[in-house]
């Protein structure tokens, strides 16, 4: 007789707390979402409706006019900005992935005297702020005539992505069983052949994690773009959002919201589709490989 009573007592004791946990957690979640809801509401409504607050729902006349203006306004068309961002982000993801994965395999499998020191130096490079290289790289790009070209930003992002991809991929390679590779080596396969035919196919999930995160970083970058991409036609999406916010539209919240959402859409889409890889890239980069 005592046991059931105790259980009921415990249930009663736990329940209010469980409810409180739910209320608090969901409350924080909704609180965190409010700014995004505001942006969404403003983007689909005309400016005069949201000037006194997007939360006032009357009148409510949804329209996509602001998206169209943001997409193709004559001053800073987002369409061109998004296109430029894509042109930079795709090679800016693939080049460092390839280059760093190759080196990561070397660090994981080949041994030579200075290996660990070089590796640690490269890992430390990961923490350096972008500002530390900005001036010399800018002056170099001016000298070789690459300033205001997509190539300059692609190259800088490529180099910048190497350290963390290298760390991530090396840790991944160390978790792979070495026996398969050794068997192939006995069969006379060269190092590069082993890498491209055996190791890379096994590394696809890790490469997906790396690719998602690197793409997001290039997509979200503002500093390098702002330094190297100067003429209005070459600016990327993040630059254009800022330019819109400082130009004649600085108080046009419905237009700015639409431009904001256009820039946000791709990272959010990638995150929602490839969340697993994104999180793994993020966690692997900070904690475990």
């Amino acid at each position: 007789m005592r046991l059931p009573r105790l259980r009921i007592g415990r249930l009663l004791r736990v329940q209010p707390r469980t409810i409180a946990f739910h209320v608090v957690a969901w409350g924080i979640g909704i609180l965190w979402l409010i700014p995004f809801i505001g942006v969404l509401m403003s983007s689909i409504r005309p400016l005069n409706e949201i000037l006194s607050g997007w939360w006032n729902l009357s009148p409510f006349n949804p329209s996509f006019a602001d998206f169209l203006t943001a997409w193709s306004n004559p001053q800073f068309p987002m369409s061109e900005g998004l296109k430029n961002t894509f042109i930079i982000a795709i090679p800016g993801t693939l080049i460092p992935m390839f280059v760093a994965t190759l080196a990561a395999y070397g660090f994981a499998r080949f041994s030579f005297r200075t290996r660990d020191y070089i590796f640690l130096t490269i890992v430390l490079l990961m923490t350096i702020p972008q500002q530390m290289v900005a001036i010399p790289v800018f002056l170099t790009m001016v000298r070789v005539g690459l300033v205001d070209s997509f190539l300059s930003v692609i190259l800088v992002h490529s180099a910048w992505g190497i350290p963390w991809i290298l760390l991530f991929m090396r840790n991944f390679f160390q978790t792979l069983p070495i026996e398969v590779e050794e068997a192939a080596r006995v069969d006379g396969a060269s190092d590069f052949r082993i890498f491209s035919r055996i190791v890379l196919p096994m590394a696809l999930p890790a490469l997906a994690a790396v690719g998602v995160l690197q793409f997001m970083w290039v997509w979200n970058d503002y500093f390098f773009a702002r330094i190297f991409l100067l003429s209005p036609g070459n600016t990327v999406a993040t630059q254009r959002v800022v330019n819109l916010a400082f130009g004649q539209y600085s108080a046009n919240w419905s237009l700015l919201s639409a431009a904001t959402l256009l820039t946000l859409s791709v990272p959010v889409l990638i995150y929602s589709l490839l969340q697993r890889y994104y999180i793994r890239g993020m966690i692997g980069w900070t904690i475990k490989g």
Binding site: W32, L102, V123, S190, W219, V241, T260
Partner: protein
Amino acid sequence: MTRRAGRRTRPRSRDARKLMRAAFFVPAVFLLVLLVVYPVAQTVYLSFFSRSGQFAGLDNYGAVLSDRDTIDLSDTRLPYGTLIHNAIWISIHLPLSLFTGLFLALTLQKVRGAAIVKSMIFLGMVTPLVVGGIILRFLFDERSGIVPVGLGLLGVHSLAIQWTAFPATLLFGLILGSVWLWTGFSMIVYSAGVTTIPRDYFEAALIDGASSWRTFRKITWPLLRPITLVVVTMTLLWELKLFDIVIAAADPGGGVSGAADVLALQMFRYGFVNIPRQYNEAAVVATLLTFLTLVIAGSLFRRILLGAPKKKRRFHLVGGLRRMLHI
């Protein structure tokens, strides 16, 4: 069969193999040296020379550190200078984002729809930071922003203002906004960390009748210490490198009277906005910033390499973390 046998017997000289192995490193090392290592060295070099190219010793450092942009404690009102602003940012943003993230990570274990709540909070981490900055501007707008209008409705009329137009509200608004954007990070990392703690520990505590606060203090918190170390380090690095939020929510000058000016922005202004360009001063700011990040990152790496400095190692997770990082 014959082809394979032929391959196996083909002699491969050791030198050829060494060359091929070196080729794995060449592209990465080339890009890193050209676009990271050499520029870093050149920035350090620039910081010790005057604009005309004369060796200046520590003169530039003296000039920058005594500049009002960097440290301005001439009166008690904002701005205090970039170095102080970064410090203020750290002292508020670090505990707030860390503990909110930890709280969420622990709470969400027992909440239905945790994945949805996590996504809602993590959205800020996916957002480009300049976009985040512009959303903050909108959030703090006097007429159409929900924060000032909401506070006005609650009767807090002193804060029902254009937050970006006044030094104190600008700085603290941006700090709170950066908490909003960054909390997802500590939440996700702690969420992953909590799963590494063996369930038996919690069950044992439950059987012993420990209160949940005691369980947290005696089990969860100490066992999460290596995770906390990572979160603290990454958050500190992020706080030192703050740039996008400020330039988008305020302007390249750090907003009204420079109240939200930070080190990275100061460097950008010296090197890429001010006319004439102040490359040497910009290099000094960049070098100081890098020095700070290396001190912080170095302490993390040293801890990971050498383990916790305390003699008594209470838990095995430091070793575990070291194994996880494979260093």
